[in-house]
């Protein structure tokens, strides 16, 4: 146990990149769900295209914001 902690403490390098990779998983899944379900809704009800597209873009923006905060944070807290 203590050995693995020591090992983790010794990790160095571009940790920000690894952190961002981890942070992008959630928003990636979210964006996939938004567009997947949006496409399905469009296929089921093409006449509601305008409304669906507006909500799709809104949901996309909500998810994407998380990934983008992840991009910015290393610049704010790095070094």
């Amino acid at each position: 146990m203590s050995a693995s902690i020591e090992l983790a403490a010794g990790v160095s390098g571009s940790l920000g990149s690894i952190g961002y990779g981890l942070a992008a998983i959630g928003p990636g899944i979210g964006v996939g769900i938004v567009f997947g379900n949006g496409t399905q809704a469009l296929a089921r009800q093409p006449e509601a295209a305008g409304l669906i597209r507006a909500n799709q873009i809104l949901g996309f923006a909500f998810c994407e914001a998380l990934a983008l905060i992840g991009i910015v944070l290393p610049f704010v807290y790095g070094k």
């Binding site: 305008g50 507006a54 873009i57 914001a65 983008l68 905060i69 991009i71 910015v72 610049f75």
Partner: protein, 272 residues
């Protein structure tokens, strides 16, 4: 470190596989700092401010020229401006707030939309190539304008007690957990909302600009011996990213205004 590093990236000496061991001049925060062009009474004026002023001028001039002497049979400019105005009015404001309530806020939303959009578009205009909204101050102030508007509308519409009930989503039928719900709603509406509203626009433009700078600098840096094809790939990626950025810029202006409208709609709606 700011200007020197940018200069290095465009020197002939700094290449991959060069003998001097010059590392890739990666873009970073320094890509967003500009030396002041001139100083007026201790007030530094830089490129970003110039672009923001230009944006204001463009928006004001175009709409004044288009609607200053509005005709029943519109000319080309008036037709284009009307299309833009109508897009925001019908596509965003009426969709969220409805015709009756929304009409009053159409001018604010139209100006916000075009101001943000043009601020973003500077990102891909040759020689300018810097999105003004990637400096947090600009989106922060715009989000503050929207914030002040919807909070004051809430209290004007519902009175002091009703306003707090609207902001916190206070609901008697929830029983004892209504306090927990109110607390979370208060936190999310008054604190998180303005923050994410500003940061969403800022971070999109920030990340977009970083990506454009990275591919542009990389296509220069890779331009040496057998890696020249790689430079070509990087250049193609720059072009692809420019197209993608054009899309993102419009979407972010749209989303910013759409969110502003939905906040206002929440302020105007009756609490239940």
């Amino acid at each position: 470190m700011s200007a020197e590093q940018t200069q290095l990236a465009f020197g002939w000496e700094c290449r991959i596989l060069a003998d001097n061991g010059c590392a890739f001049p990666a873009p970073g925060l320094h890509s967003f700092l500009f030396k002041p062009m001139f100083t007026i009474g201790g007030f530094e004026f830089n490129k970003v401010m110039m672009l923001a002023l230009l944006t204001t001028l463009i928006v004001v001039t175009v709409f004044t020229l288009a609607f200053g002497k509005a005709k029943v049979v519109p000319g080309k400019l008036q037709l284009a401006a009307e299309a833009g105005y109508d897009f925001v009015r019908r596509g965003i404001v009426y969709e969220t707030m409805g015709k009756k309530e929304g009409e009053k806020y159409v001018p604010l939303m139209v100006s916000l939309f075009f101001f943000i959009w043009i601020m973003n578009i500077w990102s891909v205009i040759p020689l300018m190539q810097f999105p003004v909204s990637s400096v947090i101050a600009y989106p922060a102030v715009l989000a503050a304008i929207v914030y002040v508007t919807w909070v004051s509308v809430t209290f004007k519409r519902h009175g002091f007690v009703g306003g707090w009930k609207n902001v916190t989503g206070y609901d008697n039928s929830l029983g004892p957990i209504k306090w927990l719900v109110s607390f979370i709603e208060l936190f999310s509406n008054l604190l998180v909302r303005p923050f994410t509203h500003a940061v969403r626009l800022f971070a999109n433009m920030f990340a977009g600009h970083l990506m454009l700078v990275m591919f542009t600098v990389a296509s220069w840096y890779l331009l040496n011996s057998w890696l020249i094809p790689a430079a070509g790939v990087s250049f193609v990626m720059t072009m692809v990213m420019i197209l993608f950025e054009l899309f993102v810029q419009a979407v972010q202006a749209y989303v910013f205004v759409l969110l502003a409208c939905s906040y206002l709609q929440g302020a105007l709606a009756e609490h239940h």
